[in-house]
Amino acid sequence: MEESWKTYRSEGFFDESMTPKGNPRAAANQAIKFLHSLSPDELASRRVAAELAIKEMGISFTVYTEGGNIDRAWPFDFIPRIITAREWSQLSLGLLQRMRALNCFIDDIYNEQKILADGSVPAEIVLDSNNYLEPCAGVKPAFGVWAHVCGSDIVRDHKGQFFVLEDNLRVPSGVSYMIENREITKRVLPELFENYSILPLDDYPLKLYQTLAALSPRARRRPNIVVLTPGIYNAAYFEHAYLAHGMGAELVEGSDLFVGEDDCVYMRSVDGPTRVDVIYRRINEDFMDPEAFREDSVVGVPGLIRSWKAGRVAIANAPGAGVADDKVIYAFVPDMIQYYLKEKPLVKNVPTYLCMREKDRDYVLSNLDKLVVKPANESGGYGIMVGPHSTKETHKKFARLIEKNPRNYIAQPTLSLSTAPTYVDGSIQPRHLDLRPFILQSKDSWVTPGGLTRVALQKGSLVVNSSQGGGSKDTWIVEGDS
């Protein structure tokens, strides 16, 4: 593969493994040396091996299309992304800090609303939001923590600096793929591990279990934890089953649970009803309980919220946590860190224009061709406009949307996302990527060493979502500058 490594350049972007002059960075040196030594045939065979491993391991995700749901094999690039432990430790401290502040915020919003009274965050954007759930007001969950599992999307700019792009506080997914990616690499490129000390990933299910177990309303050696899934046709069902298996917990659907007259939640089992202590819910909050939220929900459990408010069951993430999962609220996270923790943010936000502010809106409307415009409340990359890659028509369409509902739109500068070497069409080429680490918080808090790296497989593309042609990579946090 002499050729494609020699000509490898990622111009104008920060490349995670290679310097601008085309030499490997220190941490990536050994890995690239090894990859370099493989012949084109050998590289191709590793790729085939990776595809085979993914099929054999049954790693799939579901894409919803008009023609029905399709289970697709997980798209994976076998060249790992390598980050040094030094760089990582700074970022992980920043993520923990952020999570603490976000939980302070949610707890405040549903209780005293100090931050709104002080005017640090405008009250209307919180209280008028669809994500603010009135029935949750006054609840005091254990440790003051509402969001127990958070997946934050991280990007690096042209200088290699880390930025948080968004925080997913409702039902963040992807962690099982992160663990499986490591497993595939172990099978496909076992030689690569010989010269590295890489932080292990597969204790995530244990950490999740400990995070959840600490929430149990009953003091028991082994609380009864269940994973609540919307069902076998959900896009992330693979992950729900994976985590239940990893925690030794039951995987249940709404119909497997009921709330008894004592307001406790019970699971139907062969031996009769069993009381449930903690629910790790992977269904959206509005579907959780037809009594409290959407009446038409068939996947929820009637009375669940009643039981939760009575303190008879813990729910993670707590209903209502989504109030902080809004791209307008996101813009205020650095202020929250100052406000609640009296600390300086350790990891930065991407500069964000709020269309609800007149000055910002004027700027956005006259710079649509340079900005990325996002709706405040969508996920999965839907409803986004990437200005420089869009037509005039689309610009006009978004201008109308923004004017009609300014609260619902934000804009950010188009980022020069970092790149890493990726095996495409038989050669090594730079491709853009992001990173989703997962942060856990209850009694203690913890960040995954690394996270799920998503990579845009199309040349020049910035869209990393697996539902839209993105792939993924194993992410290595390596100790020492091997």
């Binding site: 172990k186 000390s197 890489i198 244990l206 082994r222 298996h245 030794g248």
Partner: protein, 299 residues
Amino acid sequence: MSRYLERTEDTARIVSAYNHLIMDLPKGAEPGWDIMVQILDAEPYFHQRFRSVNEQNVLKLLVADDGASCSIPYSIEAARENVRTTRDVLPEETWELVNELSLFVREVAPNSVGRRNRHAFLAEVISRCQTINGLMASTLTRDHAYSFIKVGRLLECADMATRMVDVGAGDILDRDGSTSAFDPLLWGAMLQARSAGSAYRRQVGPLVDRNAVVNFVFLDTAFPRSVKFCMQGIGQELGRLANHDEPLRAVGRVWRRLNRLTKEDMTQAELHAFIDDFQQQLNQLHTAIEEAWFRVASA
């Protein structure tokens, strides 16, 4: 035959779990490669054959050395030889499957010492052993042949479990405090090597620590590869055979010993002494079975 087959599978599982483990541990925190040689009780042979303990040599021994009684090729050849001489009582396909496995190992093992092909080779060996076990479980008449096959497999399974716990626990305890953060990974690897990961998580939970793992591997009553479960099965099968008095008494002794494994915290020395003693009892059981059914009376 079944003992050799079980040994093959267990060895493949140990190597596979260890192989997995070393990629998760930082340099310097991993147990030495010789831990597998210790578990398989092959130190004298190893040192006769190789000068230094390293990945290449240990794997050569276990995966490709057909002269070492602990190696995969040796066990398979021994199993094949057993089947060749007892074909009359086994389901037809047994001979063919064992033969194919032997051919596969002879052909592929030499190229599976390196990391590149190791995983696929071990996975294939394990899966073929399970196929043969499955064939016998579903087609072999429940006659004497079945009883002995089952007893052989369970005896080997129990023996291997005790050796793994002994050597594994010793190794984990020998480490200084600095690497103790990785203890759960090490115990997890041990469960993996017993294919007990999922069963343990469902039964005990995802927290792995020494006492819970030792208890599970020895005493769990529902997991089919626990020592207790194995001994139960051996007792049942032997009870169905004529002339079972002596062997059953030996089973009884093993069983009582097992029940004396206290749930409280044992020191490493106590655990080691217990396992040592327990293994002797297992050997006595093996001898009792041999004397009752396999030794031609001389006189």
